[in-house]
């Protein structure tokens, strides 16, 4: 530890208006090490990465590269300083062939070819247009392109996501060897298995702050989980158990039955039931396939395999209209996806009423008004600016997206992170509303990125990791540490088991 760090960032601060993304982040990377950067959703990982690579500028803080203060103003600056990122999204320009893409970044071709072969793709034709190359290969090409210019610090964001097992193995091997040759790698991943196999140290972020730097050794995953959670480690009291649980267990067919559902490469094998009268929580780290799961259930995209049953009958949704007819409504996480911003609150709530061809005729204005008004009252939407939804606050906009389906009396509501970016008061109201819906015998599937919401709202938790359901457990067991461990694919109640990091193949992720 006596060697001076290759990259040393301290006291990095970044705010967006009133929102603090980073309050005091630091990261120090030694030459020759593979360094993991960890943190729960929204902890500030991606902001820190963007600052290091020059995509955005920090409000305060020092970044030293090889002990020299460097002001990284742009991605090109970062590149000159020897810092190269590989992001989750492929960065080759789709309409150019691989060779032209290499020319764009002045990447030498021969080293690139060598790395591509090394990474397990023997037969790449660099005249292929990037658009025609499969996603997994594109990600490997991105990595090869970065490796070919021999950067001092390589920054990898979820490098192995969406890679098939054989490619992932090669990639990990190559990354490990980077460290041996004196260069450093910053490795961002949700997968403890990979981190334990690869990394020397880990920096943990929480709420925009670096809360610890640890050496990776067997058993450290519990410490990391604790750090990511902060003071919340002690088992929180389970919220009063919901009465509805006893209402109708098992006596009828499930409202929604999902079996072996697959969507593209993101969602691999998901099975669960949703019964009337319950709120089932879905917990997953970013990009584990939850977006695809919800879109498939809502009829927005077609699954590539598996079955969906509604009230025991198999269904195939070709269009959201089919799902809506089956009583399944989808509230997307991004409000701008669901609202017609220039139209009034009333028109937004009443939109599903007009959708079907037979409802294209004259609208019964009085009846519509009373339906809409009762939905507005139920959700307590502030209607002072109701002429245009875009003038409402975020919380009120979110309420409109839900009110629409209350008015339409949907039997099942798929809520995707409905409380993201809205105020605390509105959050409380939404929790209450979802509980009420369940008590009325409706069913709610509720994805949330905030673990604490599970205990406030859900009866049951479904944990998805790497496109699979890795665990389902009742809310009584779902305290935050348990959820966090489950979300990272660690087995439940494995606190004593320190051996799981030792062997890559014992983890649920590595199963073929």
């Amino acid at each position: 530890m006596t060697t001076s760090p290759l990259l040393d960032a301290t006291g990095v601060v970044k705010t967006y208006g009133a929102v603090v993304a980073l309050r005091n982040a630091s990261l120090s990377v030694l030459p020759g090490e593979v360094h993991a950067l960890m943190g729960a959703n929204g902890a500030g990982k991606s902001t820190l990465v963007k600052i290091l690579t020059g995509a955005i500028r920090a409000d305060a803080g020092h970044i030293l590269i090889r002990g020299e203060a460097r002001d990284v103003r742009s991605p090109a600056d970062a590149r000159r300083a020897g810092l190269l990122p590989v992001y989750q999204e492929p960065s080759l320009i789709p309409d150019l062939d691989v060779a032209s893409n290499l020319r764009l970044t002045d990447t030498p071709v021969e080293p690139f070819r060598a790395w591509v072969r090394e990474l397990g793709i023997p037969d790449l034709d660099i005249r292929d247009t990037a658009r025609d190359i499969p996603l997994a290969v594109l990600r490997v090409l991105d990595l090869a392109r970065a490796l070919a210019v021999e950067p001092d610090v390589l920054l990898l964001d979820e490098m192995t996501a969406a890679l098939p097992a054989n490619l992932a193995e090669k990639v990990l091997e190559v990354i490990r060897r980077q460290g041996d040759s004196g260069r450093s790698v910053i490795f961002i991943s949700h997968r403890f298995v990979e981190i334990s196999a690869l990394c020397d140290r880990a920096t943990v972020l929480r709420d925009g702050e670096t809360v610890g730097v640890v050496d990776i050794e067997p058993g450290v995953e519990e410490r990391i989980v604790e750090m990511m959670l902060g003071a919340k480690v002690e088992k929180t009291r389970v919220a009063a158990c919901q009465a509805s649980q006893a209402a109708s267990p098992g006596d009828s067919r499930p409202r929604l039955g999902v079996a072996n559902l697959r969507v593209g490469s993101k969602l691999n094998d998901v099975s669960f039931d949703l019964v009337n009268g319950e709120v089932a929580g879905v917990i997953a780290l970013e990009g584990q396939g939850q977006d695809e799961l919800f879109a498939a259930l809502a009829g927005s995209i077609r699954p590539s395999g598996g079955t969906i049953e509604v009230d025991g009958k198999p269904v195939k949704f070709a269009h959201p209209a089919d799902a809506i007819r089956a009583g399944i409504a989808y509230v997307p996480g991004d409000r701008t996806e669901a609202l017609t911003m220039q139209r009034s609150v009333r028109e937004n709530i009443a939109l599903p009423f007009s959708a079907a061809l037979r409802n294209w005729g004259p609208i019964n204005m009085a009846q519509e008004r009373s339906t809409v008004v009762s939905a507005i009252e139920r959700l307590q939407i502030d209607t002072r600016a109701q002429r245009e939804v875009q003038r409402l606050s975020g919380g009120n906009q979110q309420k409109v997206t839900i009110a629409r389906w209350i008015a339409a009396e949907a039997q099942t509501i798929l809520c995707f992170d409905p409380t993201r970016g809205i105020d605390v008061g509105t959050k409380q109201e939404i929790y209450k509303l979802l509980r009420e819906l369940a008590d009325q015998g409706k069913s709610v599937l509720f994805y949330t990125s905030e673990l604490e919401e599970v205990q406030r709202v859900c009866d049951r938790v479904i944990v998805i990791f790497g496109g699979r359901v890795v665990d389902v457990f009742p809310v009584e067991l779902a305290d935050e540490p348990a959820l966090m461990r489950a979300a990272y694919g660690l087995p439940r109640g494995a606190k004593a088991d320190v051996g799981i990091l030792a062997d890559i193949h014992s983890s649920p992720v590595a199963k073929p």
Partner: protein
């Protein structure tokens, strides 16, 4: 809160908000100003006959601008309205020689429905950009009409008297064309504001993804829309030939771009989701009065067109600034 003195809102700001809430007011003011300018330049020109004439010529433009308004609400445009109007007018005028006028009109509206259907399917199902799609069908339609003209060249053409009556006639000084226009205008306004279909036009133009998530099938809305637009254009053609009384292969073509301009001046956003038909009607009146105004200025044709274009641009830009209250 109550102790703080109420800040007087500046007059300009209040005026702007007032205009933003009632986007028709500035348009009406502009129309009145134009008429006043005309009266000052040529005292005595504004009389009952001039009014009737202006209304008569504004009506075909206003109906075609209605087609543009509805398609623009969904983020589209219908450039085939000129060809469709010309086709139905020309076919009616030639068919009426051998058939009963009612039959001739039905025959004349067949190509309108067909072109609308092709437009709608192209835009709604195959996702061709509306500009290209309607431009394409417009060219095809013109070509077909030229072929058709060869086959009927011997039979000649005539205009049924009741269409001439509808197009040019006056009853107690009021243009008979209003008998056709008022119901159409009421129907369009009603459709846009009080029917499910009208709501969907706005919704699809504002946020197609949101409409889809609410169960709206885009292709159904778009197909119905372009068929309606085409049929309206066909009807306009029948009215217009009653006004012009000379069938030709480019009869309604000069109305196409002014119809787009009328909708834009009337406050309908070309990006969709925003606007209405009442503004468009006034937009059509403004353009018609403006044309008269430029005609009596006795400028050369070129200068007149330059001025027309400049005024349309200026009015649109100014009007959008006024009604966008952000």
């Amino acid at each position: 809160m109550s102790t703080t003195a109420i800040q007087p809102v500046p007059f300009g700001r209040r005026l702007k908000r007032f205009m933003a809430d009632r986007p028709l007011i500035p348009l009406i003011i502009l129309l009145v100003i134009l008429v006043l300018v005309l009266q000052i330049l040529r005292p005595g020109i504004v009389n009952e006959r001039w009014l009737a004439n202006t209304v008569k010529f504004a009506i075909p433009l206003a109906i075609l601008a209605g087609c543009q308004t509805m398609t623009m609400l969904t983020g589209g445009i219908d450039l085939s309205v000129g060809t469709v109007a010309t086709m139905s007018a020309f076919i009616m005028a030639t068919q009426v020689v051998n058939h009963d006028p009612a039959v001739a009109i039905l025959i004349a509206l067949v190509p309108a429905v067909l072109i609308g259907l092709v437009n709608g399917i192209g835009v709604g199902v195959f996702r061709v950009h509306p500009l290209i799609m309607t431009l394409g069908t417009s060219l095809i339609g013109t070509g077909c009409l030229q072929v058709y003209q060869r086959t009927v060249i011997a039979s000649g053409a005539k205009i049924p008297p009741f269409l001439a009556w509808l197009g040019t006639g006056l009853t107690y000084g009021v243009p008979n064309a209003l008998l056709l226009f008022v119901p159409i205008a009421v129907l369009i306004v009603f459709t846009l504001n009080r029917t499910g279909f009208g709501r969907l036009l706005y919704a699809v133009g504002d946020n197609e993804g949101a409409a889809r998530l609410s169960g709206v099938r885009y292709w159904q809305v778009i197909t119905a829309l372009y068929v309606i637009s085409s049929v309206l254009a066909g009807i306009t053609g029948l009215l217009y030939i009653g006004l012009i009384k000379a069938p030709s292969l480019s009869l309604a073509e000069p109305l196409v771009l002014p119809s787009v301009a009328a909708a834009v001046i009337g406050g309908t956003s070309i990006f969709g989701g925003r606007g209405g038909y009442t503004g468009t009607i006034i937009g059509a009146l403004i353009l018609t009065v403006l044309t008269t105004l430029l005609t009596i200025l006795q400028m050369p044709e070129g200068a007149r067109r330059i001025l027309f274009g400049l005024i349309v641009l200026f009015v649109t830009a100014a009007y959008l600034r006024i009604i966008e209250d952000r």
